[in-house]
């Protein structure tokens, strides 16, 4: 049964790691703006100097 003590220790340790990661995420401002990043990720990278297709379709 003593293996359970080790397992409990591990599970708590992992949970605490997640808690610390969560607190770090909040601290770094990830929860301050919950909208803009969702749009930012949709922007394509710029095609490198493609003179023929200058301004895209609209």
């Amino acid at each position: 049964m003593s293996v359970i003590i080790v397992l409990i220790g591990f599970s708590l340790l992992i949970a605490i790691i997640f808690l610390i990661l969560f607190i770090r995420a909040v601290k770094s401002g990830q929860f301050d703006d919950k909208y803009t990043p969702s749009i930012r990720i949709l922007f394509d990278d710029e095609p490198k100097k493609d003179k023929d297709k200058k301004h895209g379709s609209s």
Binding site: L12, F18, I23, I39
Partner: protein, 802 residues
């Protein structure tokens, strides 16, 4: 919005940049047409920098730049002004924060985050779309002025007004709440896991001492929840007891403390499982409710004062050249240049040009006021028409508009004097539960002293009003969200309940019931032939009187340019065209025989060759759907209309609101404030709806002040809610919705009482086991959350609000 733009695209000439209709196709680059040179220049800037991705993300995303004035930003070199924007600065780089209300789509985000392609001294830029803010990091080779000029050149001029820098206190509060929820959730989950043997009723013999270890781990995990996550409930309860008030936090704190202490005693002295899973779960759910109700509208500011109405910089004339200085540094005797649409920041004397000053925002007068050279112009008006030159006679801190704001109502915090339903009930609830706990433990004393103590604590635990505390935040929070989706933005959730208590509604007229800057014109008299139309139109063209302008816009057709023109101030105009004499103005001016005491200045009589033709009646333009709205409102509430304007509109207003409503005209801001205070003195709950600075005091005095705004990013005075003009007709719906929300809250109270009775039965009979508490509490909380949110959503769906 984009779909309507696309529809138009097929038929009309649409500006490639801003999507507005183009008058012709004279302004173009390649195959792209622009409505104005401003739009064209923005396009060429972007095109030259290979930044046309801007146009492919959203359709015609640009901001119209009709006003081509190259603005002068010299005032941004002033060190005092700089500190308003610069957050951080060292030897090499600086970081500045701007508010850009124009941003509206993903293209805006894209271009604002790619500013470094336009100026290599800009290192990076980041947008917060909900706050409409842009943070720019730049190296010190460039200046704040250059960055603002660049932003202006692509159509994103930052908000430059006197308002204080946005404080980041709110962000910190939010982060704290996330920490608390994170920790409470973590501990709650682990305690639940460690309580599993208890749930499965594994007896202590089998577990070989593991249960003791688990229990002590639980204590260890619950300590941060009790002392950190739950601290605000304990502190709030302590504060309210100190003020001899029992609010909703008192029974909650009582429940938390009893849960914690009883669990400690059970575990340490009796080696039993405690109720720590229930305690941490309770705090976790309460905090979630808190997160749900702290929906705030970041981009809106409910605390604005006159300062945000003032521009930051002003053009002055110095040694025959124009420059800009910060508005706060205007001295007496400075020559200021005010262009069309610009605000007059200080009391001044008109030196040059024709002043047509629009005071609708400050005084409520619907029509602009004409000012002659040498006349004093009070601060707060907006010049309409050509540029004028004025000389300041006061400093900004002593101007009329600033003094308006020194009323003591603005210095004190607006307090909620009414108690919310939850707090009202919890007062009785606490005493009943305490009474019940004492009585039943005294009765148990006679049978079993041990059980008596258990029963006492069990009652306090099970009666902890978790559901009671959750029903208001979830119902009102959801209602607030739904209203926000319909362009009605309330400052906080408590106002939903306040809305249901309103007995009187006070309206301002100009800009609230009417649309500012728009007027209805009606002609009465002889038929206007084409020739007469041309004559009248030519006559009014010379006059800069606001009424003349309205008539000029009203009459279609051509006009003749004429030199023979005379304007008699306060009377009217006199023109000779091709041998005909045209007179327009007061009845007395048009026809010497007749004389009339004018009821208002908005009737223009007209005669041609001394023959009376007819009159133009200029009326306010009332909002669409006002009549429907008025009909519904006057059934339930007493309506009052307070106007800063003259009473020429009385008859029209009566058509909407009937004879029973109160109408008062020529009201100063102070009058309005006093009127509302008088209503409140006879125990009326007043909702004030206004728009301008002249209503600011009244909005503040009223129980709920709602400011109506054509565009939510526009200036609105400090208030409790902002209603966008396009949702004006939904206003009764919002009031009904608030009333319905209150019913849902009451219903959920009843549900939570049912759970409490059920729990109390076990508690009084001494059978409350930890597992029962751990089941009962989450179930009651979750069912309340589901009931309140679906209840409000269903109602909103039925009424078409979502």
């Amino acid at each position: 919005m984009n779909s309507t733009k696309e529809k138009l695209l097929s038929k009309k000439l649409i500006c490639y940049h801003c999507g507005d209709e183009c008058p012709d196709d004279k302004i173009y680059i390649d195959d792209k047409i622009f409505c104005c040179n401003g739009c064209k220049s923005v396009f060429s800037i972007l095109n030259n920098n290979d930044m046309c991705t801007y146009y492919s993300i959203s359709n015609a995303p640009g901001i119209n730049k009709k006003d081509e004035n190259k603005r002068n930003y010299d005032f941004l070199d002033d060190p005092d002004v700089k500190t308003k924007f610069i957050d951080f600065r060292d030897d090499k780089i600086s970081k500045a924060l701007f508010t850009i209300p124009q941003m509206h789509c993903s293209s805006c985000i894209w271009i604002l985050e790619n500013l470094n392609k336009l100026d290599e001294d800009i290192l990076s830029s980041q947008v917060n779309f909900l706050q409409k803010s842009l943070s720019v990091t730049y190296n010190n080779n460039t200046t704040l002025k250059k960055i603002v000029t660049l932003l202006d050149s692509i159509g994103y001029e930052p908000l430059l007004n006197l308002e204080e820098k946005r404080d980041s206190k709110n962000d910190k509060e939010f982060r704290k709440l996330y920490y608390k929820i994170g920790i409470a959730g973590f501990c709650f989950g682990n305690i639940m896991m460690l309580s599993f043997p208890e749930y499965l009723s594994i007896s202590p013999q089998d577990s070989s001492g593991l249960d003791t270890l688990f229990n002590y781990l639980n204590i260890f995990l619950s300590i941060p929840v009790f002392f950190y996550s739950g601290s605000e409930y304990l502190i709030s309860a302590y504060k309210s007891l100190k003020n001899k008030i029992v609010n909703i936090d008192v029974p909650i704190a009582l429940g938390i403390i009893v849960l914690f202490l009883r669990s400690l005693i059970e575990i340490i002295f009796f080696s039993n499982a405690g109720y720590l899973d229930s305690m941490t779960g309770l705090i976790f759910f309460l905090l979630l409710g808190k997160l749900f109700q702290t929906k705030t509208y970041d981009a809106l500011n409910f605390e604005r004062n006159y300062k945000s109405y003032f521009p930051l910089g002003i053009t002055i004339k110095k040694d025959n050249s124009e420059t800009t200085i910060p508005v706060e540094k205007i001295e007496v005797g400075n020559r200021l240049i005010i262009r069309n649409g610009e605000l007059i920041p200080v009391d001044s004397v008109l030196i040059k040009g024709n002043g047509t000053i629009d005071y609708s925002f400050v005084t409520g007068e619907a029509l602009p006021i004409k000012k002659e050279q040498g006349e004093v112009i009070y601060a707060g008006g907006k010049q309409t028409g050509g540029a004028i030159e004025i000389e300041s006679i006061k400093e900004i801190s002593q101007s009329y508009l600033t003094r308006l704001w020194n009323n003591k109502i603005f210095s004190k915090q607006k307090e909620m004097n009414s108690i919310s339903l939850a707090n009202y009930i919890s007062k009785y609830f606490t005493f009943i539960v305490l009474g019940l706990a004492i009585v039943s433990s005294v009765i148990w004393m006679f049978y079993d002293t041990n059980t008596a103590m258990n029963v006492f604590t069990a009652i306090l635990i099970v009666a902890c009003p978790c559901a009671l505390a959750l029903s208001t935040p979830f119902t009102s929070g959801n209602a607030l969200r739904i209203m926000g989706r319909n362009n009605f933005y309330l400052r906080n959730v408590d106002l939903i309940e306040e809305l249901t208590k309103i007995t009187d509604i006070v309206f301002d007229k100009t800009g609230t019931l009417t649309v500012s800057g728009k007027s209805n014109i009606k002609y009465e008299g002889m038929e206007l032939t084409k020739k007469k139309k041309i004559l009248i139109k030519s006559a009014v063209r010379n006059s800069i009187h606001p009424l003349s302008k309205i008539i000029f816009d009203y009459l279609e057709g051509e006009y003749i340019i004429t030199e023979k023109f005379d304007e008699i101030a306060g009377e009217g105009i006199y023109t000779e065209i091709n041998g005909s004499t045209i007179k327009l103005g007061s009845l007395h001016h048009v026809d010497k025989e007749k004389f009339e005491f004018s009821g208002g200045s908005s009737v223009v009589h007209c005669s041609i060759n001394d023959e009376y033709i007819g009159k133009f009646i200029i009326q306010n333009f009332y909002r669409d759907n006002l009549s429907d709205l008025a009909k519904e409102l006057k059934e339930k509430y007493s309506i009052h209309v307070l106007s800063g304007d003259n009473k020429s509109e009385l008859e029209n207003l009566k058509k909407f609101f009937g004879n029973d409503s109160t109408y008062l005209f020529d009201q100063s801001p102070q009058n309005k404030l006093d009127y509302i205070a008088a209503l409140q003195n006879v125990d009326k709950k007043v909702l004030m709806m206004g728009d301008g600075l002249n209503d600011a005091g009244a909005l503040r005095q009223s129980n709920i002040g709602i400011s109506i705004s054509e565009d939510k990013s526009n200036f609105s005075p400090s208030c409790d809610g902002i209603l966008e003009a396009k949702s004006f007709d939904l206003f009764t719906q919002f009031l009904n919705f608030a009333a319905y929300s209150k019913k849902i809250i009451i219903a959920s109270f009843i549900i939570s009482f049912v759970y409490n009775f059920f729990g109390l039965y076990f508690a009084i009979s001494g059978n409350l086991t930890p597992i029962l508490a751990a089941i009962l509490m989450p179930i009651s909380s979750i069912s309340i959350v589901i009931f309140t949110t679906t209840g409000t959503n269903l109602y909103a769906k039925k009424r078409g609000l979502i």
